[in-house]
């Protein structure tokens, strides 16, 4: 940010929240025409942001059965009525999981979780023991099968050491290594999590080791800051990328069109 007379949009872009950055970065993952399995919250914002910008022909599929959804308001839940109105198709959940997901039609799945580990395994089931958990989380929902079948998975999660342990307490959704076994050994059709978008930088799957390694930082973030919030000895790619901040247009879409009440950007 060196220019002397920055246009107004760039000045506005100078101030942005971590959630806005994560949504913008996630949106850039999506190419026009791709078929994406959408979750509620930041993934939903990211998908609709991509649809408004570089990917007008993105096909949004929600596990509730809406295919080609074009929500005209921000869906608060994954079964919001605005996902139905104007969509291409509404199908049963048996069709969603068998004819779309298991059939290999889903190109990108977005997932989040209470814990993400070194291998991109996700826990959304329990913190502590299964039989008497310290915290009982909601469980899999569709996440386990999305992690298995989507051609690629992008994880969105804020960094902190409790959320990024070396190994998850409960393995709900499989990453690149499950208790030492590879996805190929286990017979999983999809490529699994290839990227973790955090609030400080981006981790990517190293194809050799299967580990999530730091590949890019957000503006103003130091490597030590990321390492301090991760529970395993994080590998850092020698040529670290620097991720561009949200553009004025990305921020305008997020703030004025997609989430004006700051339900998920707050």
């Amino acid at each position: 940010m060196a220019s002397k007379a920055a246009p107004a949009a760039d000045q506005a872009a100078a101030a942005y929240s971590p959630a806005e950055m994560m949504a913008a970065v996630a949106a850039r993952e999506l190419a026009n025409g791709e078929v994406v399995f959408v979750g509620i919250g930041l993934p939903n914002l990211a998908c609709n942001l991509a649809r408004a910008l570089q990917a007008p022909d993105l096909v949004l599929i929600y596990e509730s059965g809406a295919v080609g959804a074009v929500p005209e308001r921000l869906p608060v839940s994954i079964g919001d009525p605005s996902l139905v109105t104007g969509s291409l198709m509404v199908c049963s959940m048996a069709d969603v999981f068998q004819l779309f997901l298991q059939n290999g039609k889903i190109e990108v799945g977005f997932l989040g979780g209470a814990q993400v580990d070194r291998w991109g395994n996700i826990n959304t089931t329990v913190i502590g023991s299964y039989d008497r958990p310290k915290v009982r989380l909601p469980g899999s929902g569709g996440a386990a099968e999305i992690a298995i079948h989507a051609r690629r998975v992008v994880i969105i999660s804020r960094l902190n050491a409790r959320a990024f342990p070396a190994e998850v307490d409960f393995l709900t959704s499989p990453g690149q290594r499950c208790r030492g076994r590879t996805r190929t050994e286990l017979g999983m059709p999809g490529a699994g999590p290839i990227k973790v978008i955090t609030d400080k930088g981006i981790l990517e799957n190293d194809p050799e080791s299967g580990e999530m390694v730091l590949t890019a930082l957000y503006p103003g973030v130091a490597v030590a800051e990321v390492k301090a919030n991760i529970g395993w000895p994080l590998q850092v790619r020698p040529q670290l990328g620097l991720v561009a901040p949200p553009t004025g247009e990305e921020l305008r879409q997020l703030r004025e069109v997609l989430d004006p009440k700051k339900l998920f950007l707050g």
């Binding site: 596990e63 049963s92 999981f97 569709g142 386990a144 079948h149 059709p189």
Partner: protein, 301 residues
């Protein structure tokens, strides 16, 4: 043929018994809170309650002491957070609530097997996950054609399934539009089916648009006419989801005394759904759906 139309009180009294496996389905859309409230009022006990997303209605049934066991795949407050009574029952109570847990695909597969009267259903799923360790009913089978090892889940055949639909005739031929969830499979899997509707219509309305019929009357035991019977869930074309109430449930359900006060006022304290609605006259202004009519199709030949 005799009309199957009855009151919610009579339908629950006749078809939901202590110890039954009960399914009230509906994925965010068309969740019949009116039926759940009547089950609570009639103080059913030792129920095995099953559905993909327990939602607020099963949280209320757990808090009211109706449930012995919960079968599910995602137990949160959709878009808002947690289910307080469920979490207390699993994290703190002695003994904890018995649970049997799958993923959504697993629950859908259980109902598909039940509906087809097969003993189990196969999927390419669960490899690498801890779910089969948490639930030993998730197993595998070797494909007799390819040798591939596939995941299996057992059929679910509920004693009674309760489905809310936009409209039905007096014999239970029920039409649904909007999100369809797993209602068709759940109904066909069940020993008995109660259909609850926003509107009772003449059979000619059903016959004019047969592609929209989700549940045929031949599998339906009782029809209950209960406008706004899903609130705070929703019915496409009738009323919107009460997202404010879902958010409010975070605080209500976190505090057992507040939750009990809620049940006293809005469940035990009313005789039926009509009385529940009379207590909240503002709902109609806030949530009634605007019209967006589809043109229809040509069924001629």
């Amino acid at each position: 043929m005799h009309s199957k139309v009855t009151s919610m009180r009579e339908a629950i009294a006749a078809h939901v018994h202590d110890g039954d496996t009960v399914v009230i389905e509906g994925f965010t859309h068309l969740i019949c809170f009116a039926a759940g409230h009547e089950i609570i009022r009639q103080r059913r006990r030792d129920l095995t309650i099953a559905r993909l997303t327990p939602d607020l209605i099963y949280d209320q049934m757990i808090a009211a002491g109706c449930a012995r066991k919960l079968v599910f795949s995602w137990a949160g407050n959709p878009g808002a957070g947690s289910l307080g009574a469920f979490r207390r029952a699993v994290e703190k109570e002695t003994p904890p609530l018995e649970i049997e847990e799958y993923s959504h695909f697993g629950m859908v597969a259980r109902m598909s097997a039940g509906a087809a009267r097969l003993p189990f259903w196969t999927m390419r799923n669960y490899m690498g996950t801890d779910l089969p360790k948490a639930n030993p009913l998730i197993r595998t089978v070797t494909c007799p054609y390819t040798g591939e090892v596939l995941a299996t889940v057992p059929a679910l055949n509920p004693d009674v399934t309760i489905i809310h639909a936009q409209r039905a005739d007096q014999f239970g031929n029920a039409q649904v539009w909007g999100l369809l969830g797993v209602q068709k499979e759940a109904a066909f899997a069940s020993k008995r089916v109660i259909v609850v509707v926003e509107e009772l219509v003449d059979q000619s309305v059903i016959r004019a648009d047969p592609n929209r019929t989700l549940i045929p009357g031949m599998i339906v035991a009782a029809v209950v006419v209960e406008p706004w019977g899903c609130h705070p869930s929703y019915a496409q074309g009738y009323y919107d989801r009460d997202n404010d109430f879902y958010v409010a449930w975070e605080d209500i359900s976190r505090n057992p005394a507040r939750l009990e006060a809620y049940l006293q006022e809005f469940v035990y304290g009313v005789t039926d759904r009509a009385a529940y609605l009379r207590k909240q006259p503002e709902l109609r202004d806030r949530l009634a759906a605007k019209d967006l009519i589809c043109a229809g199709v040509n069924y001629g030949f």
